[in-house]
Amino acid sequence: MCVGSAAIELRGITKRFGNVVANSNVSLSVYGGEILSLLGENGSGKTTLMNMISGIYYPDEGQIFINGEEAVIRSPKDAFKYKIGMIHQHFKLIDVFSAAENVVLGLKEKGKYDIKTVSERVAEISEKYGFDINPDKKIYEMSVSEKQTVEIIKVLYRGADILILDEPTAVLTPQETQKLFTVLRKMREDGKAIIIITHKLHEVLSLSDRVAVLRKGEYIGTVETAKTDEAELTEMMVGKKIELNIERATPENPQDRLVVKNISCKNREGVNVLDEVSFTARSGEILGIAGIAGSGQRELLEAIAGLQHIDGGEIIYNNPKTGSADNLRDKTPLQIRELGVRLSFVPEDRLGMGLVGNMDIVDNMMLRSYRKGKSFFLERKAPKNLAETIIEQLEVVTPSAATPVRKLSGGNVQKVLVGREIAAAPTVLMAAYPVRGLDINSSYAIYNLLNQQKKNGVAVIFVGEDLDVLIELCDRIMVIGSGRVAGIVDGRTADKNKIGLMMTKTQGGNENEQ
């Protein structure tokens, strides 16, 4: 309509899912040549809002204006028409295709299909913004960061002027994150409007021009990054000031509880996912495991839990009650339990492994304990009491204990799972990414629970992705890369950049190191 209008402007957007209001009357705008961070706790409606801009959902109320004109975005195709491109958290690429082939996939261009021209144009875009990519490389040969680059080029190739990135740094190393930021800054100079969804405050501060904050689906406000700090943003986000420090007590009388010696295992393709991994988890201590996603963390924990077959090495558990040392290798989870090993495991895949989404909280409590007693029938009284205790003590927000867990929000799901695992009074507690996707309040609730277990003398193994958290929470941090131990550092003296380097160093080697 008039010059100087926003590249994209939202007015009074509301979206409901059943009784849940995901977005309520949200209004915000982004101009060309700026980076806007969209900040908010989990479940604050960031992704929902962005999905409405990119045509995946349609708002129940409100309007969207693109360059001052009202726009109707009913499908991703419409969004593309308005030059909006979204880079999702989960990549939508075809593994056996090359980068260039993925870029043109689904695109109806006039003229002959000419992959060479496409490759040239991809190279052109790469050069313009400083991407580092080979257009002919197949997706399955790529690292996570390269895949993300392909996704970004895909939307640029389609001529997007408005880019939305949903938590793009979640899967990247610190070094890769810096590279991404450089690229984003170049795009800003080029006049693109960029919206980036993130949880990480320091990234918000270092990258964006303005920050828009959502809280529980409501728009709280937009501030200029230069005029704000972490404390203010946190306050806007959670509504009250919270301490950023994570408590860390000195371990008391640590004893070797779990000794892992030279374990190795291969995946289906015959590639070593774990390669001679050795470490010791001590009682009363939190051992952190740092590494890029997919470096063998999952296999390591599953091997200890008896879910993953290992080709070599041993896993020795020192039983504090009997004093005996048992080898857990090649034992099923049930056999491990029958040995008297009190091993609790909070897996990465909460609803796919740790819990059953369609079952209610009570039935999920029974997963660990339903075998108890000789009766043919289930005993639901104890699990019901446990469910109620956990709901009360961990402040799980749920209509009742009879609500299916899939209907709970991420943080509450995790509280139910961690609560159950802790209720088993473990001597070893393994937690894989226990705060992934959780808001700050829930994350701290989880840290507190882990710390409590540590004080009770439990050997806690914490696989994390946020290095700041690992450094603040853990007594020792084991860094792994490509299934190998890159080193074990003391959490009190650890240096973030050094850990980041250790993570990538072992990973590179034969692959292309950037």
Partner: protein, 368 residues
């Protein structure tokens, strides 16, 4: 209006997933679906036959409830369909696609018929009945355990496997009929017509009451088993997520095999009831497609055995009604099938409206 259109770009309807629905609302939707289905059926009836739809519906109801005999037949058919539905339910709850109920029932029936044919009246009837029951259940179990064993150990596709086992069962039945019928006719007459050996006795003078009572008891047992037993719980966990099952130390192989033993056993029982308590003979059409209809009954009831009483009643009522229309109006059987098809389509289709909500463009914005 054209003025309005400029400003309103919202589509007239859009669909959102419901998070929850009150139970009575869900049933209201189902009722509405049946009413709508009857209306569409009426249109079809008028256009292709010229009969009065109300007359046709009345005949349909009469087909099921017209006389005491018809009511007993309805209950008997209901009991058999329900029995097979109960059989497939544990398997489907475990996400084991057992398409082999048809064959498992046939083999059960064949085992019973064989006992009747060979043992005749050389042992007391009660003992013969027990032997037949045992043989039938064993037959069903064998037919169920084979695909389960392969699935558990080598991950074979159970749908194809169970389906193929059906054909094996059909051929076996054909073979034995040829063997037993001296004339070489492919139809087996009533076995032990004179002595009645191996026939399920009447109860209080009612022919099918025994069958019906057995299935009624079985319904309650299955409900309790699935909901309150540890094994039923394991079935749910394996069905929902095999990863979770492994994680908590459930032996998935064992559960698959055990569950298919149960599923096959109940199918075998159904075969016994069909041969001993209903037909007193065996044919390739013993199960008559019920092994497949049962899957629909089970899914529609969301694997709840008590609700399955209602869903199987609905299906049987429609089938009985349809065949009554066909004879009463001398219509082609196909017309009756069309009507049944329409009604079932509406009943299944209405689940969409129970799970999703259609939102109209809000009025207040139109006013703007």
């Amino acid at each position: 209006m054209s003025n309005n259109e400029k400003h309103i770009h919202e589509p007239l309807f859009h669909i959102t997933k419901r998070s929850d629905i009150v139970w009575w609302k869900a049933w209201l939707i189902r009722l509405a679906a049946i009413v709508a289905a009857l209306f569409v059926c009426a249109v079809v009836i008028v256009t292709i036959t010229d009969y009065n739809p109300l007359q046709v519906y009345k005949t349909m109801i009469e087909g099921s409830f017209g006389s005491e005999r018809k009511i007993w037949i309805l209950l008997q058919n209901l009991a058999m369909l329900l029995c097979i539905s109960l059989a497939v339910t544990p398997a489907f709850k475990m996400k084991f696609w057992n398409l082999g109920a048809e064959g498992q029932v046939l083999i059960g029936g064949l085992a019973s018929a064989a006992c009747m044919f060979y043992i005749k009246d050389s042992m007391p009837n009660w003992l013969l009945l027990l032997v037949m029951l045992f043989a039938s259940i064993l037959g069903g179990v064998i037919w169920g355990i084979i695909p389960a064993f392969f699935k558990a150990n080598w991950g074979t596709n159970e749908s194809l496997f169970t389906l193929m086992m059906n054909y094996v069962a059909i051929q076996l039945v054909s073979f034995f009929i040829m063997l037993w019928v001296p004339s070489g006719s492919s139809v087996m007459g009533v076995i032990n017509q004179v002595t009645g050996s191996g026939w399920m006795p009447d109860l209080f003078g009612k022919k099918y009451l025994f069958n019906i009572l057995i299935v009624a008891v079985l319904t309650v047992i299955m409900f309790v088993y699935l909901k309150f037993s540890k094994q039923g719980y394991e079935i749910s966990v394996v069905g929902e997520s095999e990863n979770t099952a492994r994680y908590i130390g459930i032996n998935v192989k064992k559960v698959i095999i055990r569950t298919m033993i149960i599923s096959g056993a109940v199918c075998g029982l159904a075969g016994f009831l069909l041969v001993s308590g209903t037909n007193h003979t065996i044919s390739k059409e013993l199960a008559g497609g019920m092994g497949f209809t049962a899957i629909m009954v089970s899914w529609l009831a969301k694997f709840n055995p008590i609700v399955m009483v209602i869903t199987s009643f609905l299906i049987v009522f429609l089938q009985r009604g349809a065949s009554e229309i066909a004879t009463a109006f001398r219509l082609n059987e196909s017309v009756a099938d069309i009507l049944t098809g329409i009604i079932i389509f509406f009943i299944i289709g209405c689940e969409f409206f129970i799970n999703y909500q259609i939102n109209r463009r809000s009025k207040q914005k139109e006013a703007k």
